[in-house]
């Protein structure tokens, strides 16, 4: 199969899968969704590594080096901050402290 066609297939199917999944994300989690998907596009780090690792001229080295720094910022920052946010979303505290107090009262 034509390579271009194969990539286009992946692109189109992913677009549909992505839309389906993301439409189910509740609006309460839209900020973590943005920063999480932000971290995911940091996968460009893989591309940046290949660019720097395959570079043959100084110009390519400089551009690749910059790309790896930027992409690492994107990936690491994105995942860390998303984790920090999601950690804050907690369900109603199970009333651990109140229960013994109630039992003692009578």
């Amino acid at each position: 199969m034509n390579v271009l066609l194969q990539y286009a297939t992946v692109l189109i199917l992913t677009a549909f899968v992505g839309t389906e999944i993301i439409a189910k994300v509740p609006s309460i989690l839209h900020t973590p969704l943005m920063s999480g998907s932000n971290a995911i596009h940091g996968v460009i780090l893989v591309g940046s590594m290949l660019i720097l690792g395959g570079s043959t001229t100084n110009l390519q080295e400089v551009l690749g080096f910059l790309a790896v720094i930027l992409a690492t910022l994107n990936v690491v920052g994105g995942f860390v901050v998303t984790d920090r946010m999601l950690e804050m979303f907690k369900p109603r505290a199970t009333k651990v402290k109140e229960t013994p107090a109630d039992e003692v009262a009578p």
Partner: protein, 465 residues
């Protein structure tokens, strides 16, 4: 199994973890684990890449790669750990921008790399799209960051002939792309890079602070698409899958956000909304209507006698840093057997879902955070709607005044509640600069002052009763 097959398998695994992570975001319960799964998948992909062959040899400059990563980690971790939750939109803008910049650099370098081998026209087109979209995202995010960080005015920046100039620059970029397709010239590619940068800047300048939530979602989609374009160039399914997922998510959020503002996307992007509002806002329509104001103690008594209270927070709450006191008040009321919910408008805050994060940080349990539709059905039976630092998102003009700039925006129907209480700093209109009739409604009471102060007094008064 050959080395390449194994690496591709690992990449497939990573792509799967990304989908799992997004699926996990379907509920706050599984979201955090999902994010960790994706981070692990990313780690696997990065480690696998170290063993990949490029042009028949193993990766050059492994130490240089590690050094660059080290620099990235050193900057990213403290920034991500210690940034304030109110500054989240800026942070997302920055991380998004650097991602776009990286995608652009990858496409450029790959072009220089493959140019000697006379690549097919479609390969060059992928490169050019990667450079264009990635750079626009980079420059646009930088300006969005400057606006959010208040390094520059949050108001739309307009100048005569703006639309025309933007159009000309856009057309020039397209013309340049066509020329490069034919000539495969590297020097023209540098010009395209510069032109894309200018395009990103002038595209974002006329977008006002209130519309930045839409803008950030759109720029997020751009970076995703730039990454997908790089994936085409490098022949990497992993990059295509990840980039497209983000592109889809960004576009979907962009549409949701413009819908939540009751405006079309093109209106948000091109109308310089909010640039002239201060003028009309200052000369408040003073037609003798009076407002009723009350003291925090009055409100505390009112709250004490209610059985159901809906709190409608806006960004003003976060500006006053009143989230924790608000949660304290809510808990106090709950301990008296009063039902308390928070009604969250989709555009409350400075990015999609921002208010939820700010309240979650103040330990508000997520069961209490209601989406707009849910909240509106609760409000009909509520005794008090407590509006804290919000204005436009409860303005009935959005429903019944076709002349209003926010006409058509879905709102939270605070006016359905038995009583409406506004905690406001002054009679000054909100972010969109529009007069709010609800303030003059007979069932409305206004409490003037800093939201945090007022809430603190209310907590004390509720405790005393």
């Amino acid at each position: 199994m050959s080395r390449e097959t194994l690496i591709d398998l690992l990449y497939l695994f990573s792509a799967t973890t990304f989908i799992v992570a997004l699926k996990g975001l379907g509920s706050p319960k599984h979201a955090r684990r999902g994010n960790m799964v994706a981070a692990f998948g990313m780690l696997v992909a990065v480690v696998a890449t170290f063993f990949k062959y490029v042009d028949g040899h193993s990766l050059h400059h492994v130490w240089l790669i590690l050094l660059a990563m080290f620099i990235g980690v050193i900057i990213a971790v403290p920034t991500a750990r210690f940034v304030k939750m109110t500054a989240m939109p800026q942070l997302v803008a920055i991380f998004n921008g650097v991602g776009g910049g990286a995608a652009s650099l990858v496409s450029m370098t790959e072009f220089i790399h493959i140019k000697s081998s006379h690549p097919a026209t479609y390969v060059i087109l992928e490169v050019l799209l990667g450079v264009l979209i990635g750079t626009v995202s980079f420059a646009g995010s930088a300006i969005a960051f400057a606006k959010l960080q208040e390094l520059m005015t949050g108001r739309p920046v307009t100048y005569p002939g703006q639309q025309l100039i933007n159009g000309v620059v856009g057309a020039a970029a397209v013309a340049l792309i066509v020329t490069i397709l034919v000539t495969a010239s590297t020097s023209l590619l540098w010009i395209l890079l510069a032109l894309s940068f200018v395009l990103g800047v002038i595209f974002v300048l006329p977008i006002g602070g209130a519309d930045v939530p839409v803008l950030i979602s759109l720029l997020n989609a751009f970076t995703g698409l730039a990454v997908a374009a790089s994936g085409f160039t490098l022949g990497s399914n992993l990059l295509i899958v990840a980039g497209t997922l983000v592109g889809a998510s960004g576009i979907l959020l962009t549409r949701l956000m413009s819908k939540a503002m009751g405006r079309s996307l093109s209106n948000v992007l091109f109308s310089a909304f909010g640039s002239v509002v201060t003028a009309s806002g200052a000369t408040t329509r003073d037609d003798g209507r009076s407002v009723r104001s009350g003291t925090p103690e009055d409100i505390a008594i009112m709250l004490g006698f209610s059985s159901r209270v809906v709190i409608i927070p806006g960004y003003g709450l976060a500006v006053a840093q009143g989230q924790h006191v608000l949660r304290e008040l809510a808990e106090l009321l709950e301990s008296k057997g009063i039902e308390v919910f928070y009604a969250i408008h989709p555009v409350a805050g400075r990015m999609p879902g921002h208010m939820n994060v700010l309240l979650a940080e103040a330990n508000v349990p997520y069961e209490q955070l209601l989406e707009m539709d849910e909240a509106n059905s609760e409000l009909a039976t509520a005794d008090v709607a407590l509006v804290v630092g919000a204005n436009d998102t409860v303005n009935p003009a959005a429903n019944d005044d076709p002349g209003s700039p926010i006409y058509g925006m879905p709102i939270i129907h605070a006016d359905l509640a038995e009583n409406v209480v506004f905690l406001k700093r002054s009679m000054r209109p909100g972010f969109a600069g529009i007069e709010n009739d609800l303030l003059y409604n007979p069932k409305t009471t206004l409490v003037f002052g800093d939201a945090k102060d007022t809430l603190t007094k209310m907590v004390a008064a509720v405790k005393a009763n």
